[in-house]
């Protein structure tokens, strides 16, 4: 507790509820093209509630509106319509500085001509009137924050003398030093190399837990999002597809897009049909789907949802087998599969006849999802 000083306002202190509520948030940009003057909708009628003290990942492919949402949260952009609440306060029309948000930019935006200390002090020196701490107070706060992110030994260096990971920490310290109500991170890990990324995301998680600040971070990397966030919000073309705890979303995708976006290797998608509460892929009834009406469907099967069995109902042409230590990938072909091949992952202790030309699978319950053909909504 002592080590992180005043910043450790974690859950045990019972800080005020600082949930974030987005109500029908919409942001359109005027069309830029010479011919195409249609407005571009970056965020479309987005409503959600981010519980107090949680770490939320806004996840989606590029252009899905996640960065715009972040800019709306911090006040760099004004929404076209809709409201944003921090706790009970409507902050929709407030300028950024009155919102009490801290922000970490993708390339950190550390001022290159200032030392680490000056960078961290900068937001404090902007405070005016009764909010402005004394000089000593500022120093203490800066040092406490630096300790929190473990850069206290680098205080008098310039940003260019630091590694990417260290710069990242300075950026976080600068965002935290003014004790924001909400911390926003824009693709915080994308400029780091793979190894550092793993390490830093743990670090971010730890800092967030320690401070208990409601944190929103934007990423396109589903691994990153799944591994450290309390909740993920999957976005597509400005719309919120689904929001929930990572495992929930993975186990219960709301639609085909979410199912395809989460999980590595990705889900296998087949064209299928439901007849008499049975799922048909090709001509074979492969799975029983109770309570589903007869229709054409997309059938998604997670790679770990295949069971290799001599008498399995789904027969595929075996392409090759990749043995990867812990488990085995079976790459096989099926004409109803949307991709060229399907990939199944089974335990390494299962014996596979790699010389065979056919493999047969049974499917695991809970790993098979059905989506309506036209709307791609989940029906099973």
């Amino acid at each position: 507790m002592r080590a992180c000083g005043g910043l450790c306002t974690g859950a045990e202190n019972g800080v005020k509820k600082m949930k974030i509520v987005l109500q029908n948030l919409t942001k359109t940009f005027p069309g830029r093209g010479r011919k195409d003057r249609n407005d571009v909708t970056a965020v479309d009628d987005l409503s959600c509630e981010i519980p107090d003290g949680e770490l939320i990942a806004l996840l989606g492919p590029s252009g899905c509106g996640k960065s715009t949402t972040l800019n709306l949260l911090c006040g760099l952009e004004k929404p076209t319509s809709g409201r944003i609440f921090f706790g009970e306060d409507d902050i929709t029309d407030l300028p950024p500085e009155l919102r009490g948000v801290g922000m970490v930019f993708q390339n950190y935006a550390l001022y290159p001509h200032m030392t680490v200390r000056q960078n961290i002090l900068f937001p404090l020196e902007n405070l005016k009137g009764k909010d402005r701490p004394s000089k000593e107070e500022m120093q203490t706060r800066a040092e406490e924050t630096a300790r929190l992110v473990q850069i206290e030994d680098l205080m008098d260096r310039k940003p260019k003398e630091l590694s990417g990971g260290q710069q990242q920490r300075v950026a976080i310290a600068r965002a935290l030093v003014k004790m924001p109500r909400v911390l926003l991170l824009d693709e915080p890990l994308s400029n780091l190399d793979a190894r550092l990324r793993l390490q830093t995301r743990e670090e971010i998680r730890k800092i967030q837990k320690k401070t208990g600040i409601t944190t929103v971070f934007v990423t396109h990397d589903q691994d990153e999002a799944m591994s450290i966030s309390d909740r993920i919000a999957v976005m597509r073309l400005g719309e919120l597809m689904q929001m929930g705890k990572p495992q929930e979303v993975y186990d219960n995708p709301a639609n085909l897009f979410v199912a395809k976006f989460l999980g590595t290797p990705p889900i296998n998608v087949f064209e299928g049909r439901v007849r008499d509460e049975q799922l048909y892929i090709g001509d074979e009834a492969v799975f029983s789907v109770k309570g589903t009406a007869d229709q054409e469907v997309w059938a998604g099967v997670r790679p770990e949802g295949f069971i290799l069995r001599e008498d399995g109902p789904l027969s595929c042409e075996l392409n090759r087998v990749e043995i990867m230590g812990r488990d085995i990938s079976i790459i096989a072909g099926h004409k109803a599969c949307m991709a060229q091949t399907i990939r199944a992952i089974i335990g390494a202790d299962t014996g596979v006849n790699t010389a065979a030309s056919q493999v047969r699978f049974a499917l695991k319950a809970g790993k098979v999802f059905l989506f309506r053909k036209e709307t791609e909504e989940r029906i099973f």
Binding site: P96, E97, V101, A109, Y111, P112, F122, N126, K178
Partner: protein, 296 residues
């Protein structure tokens, strides 16, 4: 490899010839001229070598006047034009509509003929028997005395010269600073906004340090350029600058070389070498200062 060598030299030959003949050789030669005493243009002979040429030039009241004029011009126009350009480019980068139009207009003086437009300034400022001129008309509106800026008192002439010089050199500076400002990563400004940084503080703590290399570049080149002022003065006061008392060092060099008072390449060389020494010193001081201040 050898053939390649030969070919490369062939490609370089024209450029090298031009440079050696019109740049390197004259550079060496000017120092030789400057120490040849009593050089006679017609017979191309001289009495001996020494520093008499320098001593003559340094005692020539016309030269001293030229040095004084040049220094005043430099001290006034460099800070004024740089400051003005900074103000204008900061203003420019804060607006969106009409920005390109303004940029285009501001750049116009750069592409116009200095001599030709100088005439326009002359008639704007000149006071003749027929008319007081437009500027004096405007001074009259504010209740001032009319002044002849072209043939009148020294300070008035200096004012016009400075004004015209600023008019001519500011476009380049505006352009350079505008593109320097545009190249500052917008995230710095966004970060500053999230932190609620007041505008003045953003300017002094972020914008200025970020573009300080460009500002110093402009100051250095501005000093060099202003020390070489000449055609602006000719445009305003005519070719006989000594008579007008508005000669510049470069003007003195050319007058020594050519024209009614010309025919003394040795004196001209000595004056040119002195100018070169002044410019070199000032540039070195500038570089030393900027090395201390620019830290990025």
């Amino acid at each position: 490899m050898n053939a390649n060598n030969k070919k490369a030299w062939l490609y370089l030959l024209p450029a090298t010839l031009f440079l050696v003949f019109f740049l390197v050789y004259p550079l060496i030669d000017v120092f030789i001229y400057s120490v040849e005493e009593g050089y006679n243009f017609a017979s191309q002979t001289y009495f001996g070598t020494g520093l008499y040429n320098f001593s003559y030039v340094l005692h020539d009241p016309y030269f001293l006047q030229a040095v004084k004029n040049t220094f005043i011009l430099v001290i006034i126009t460099v800070p004024v034009s740089t400051g003005l350009a900074l103000l204008i480019s900061v203003g420019l980068s804060s607006i969106k509509p009409l920005r390109e139009l303004y940029q285009t207009v501001y750049f116009l003086p750069y592409v116009t003929n200095t001599l030709a437009v100088g005439l326009v300034f002359m008639i704007l400022f000149q006071k003749t028997e027929y008319t007081d001129g437009l500027v004096n008309l405007m001074i009259g509106w504010f209740g001032g005395e009319s002044v002849d800026f072209i043939d009148g008192p020294y300070w008035a002439k200096m004012f016009v010269l400075c004004f015209y010089t600023v008019w001519v050199v500011t476009p380049f500076k505006i352009l350079v600073l505008t593109s320097a400002l545009a190249s500052v990563n917008q995230d710095y400004y966004r970060a500053a906004r999230v932190d609620g940084t007041p505008r003045l503080r953003v300017f002094t703590r972020i914008t200025l340090p970020m573009i300080s290399p460009m500002i110093f570049y402009l100051v250095i080149t501005g000093f060099i350029g202003a020390f070489k002022a000449y055609s602006d003065a000719v445009a305003l006061f005519g070719t006989d600058l000594n008579a007008a008392g508005m000669n510049t060092i470069v003007g003195y060099v050319y007058d020594m070389l050519y024209g009614d008072s010309g025919g003394y390449p040795s004196y001209a060389s000595a004056a040119a070498v002195i100018l070169f020494a002044i410019v070199l010193t000032i540039t070195c001081i500038n570089l030393m200062v900027s090395r201390k201040r620019v830290e990025i």
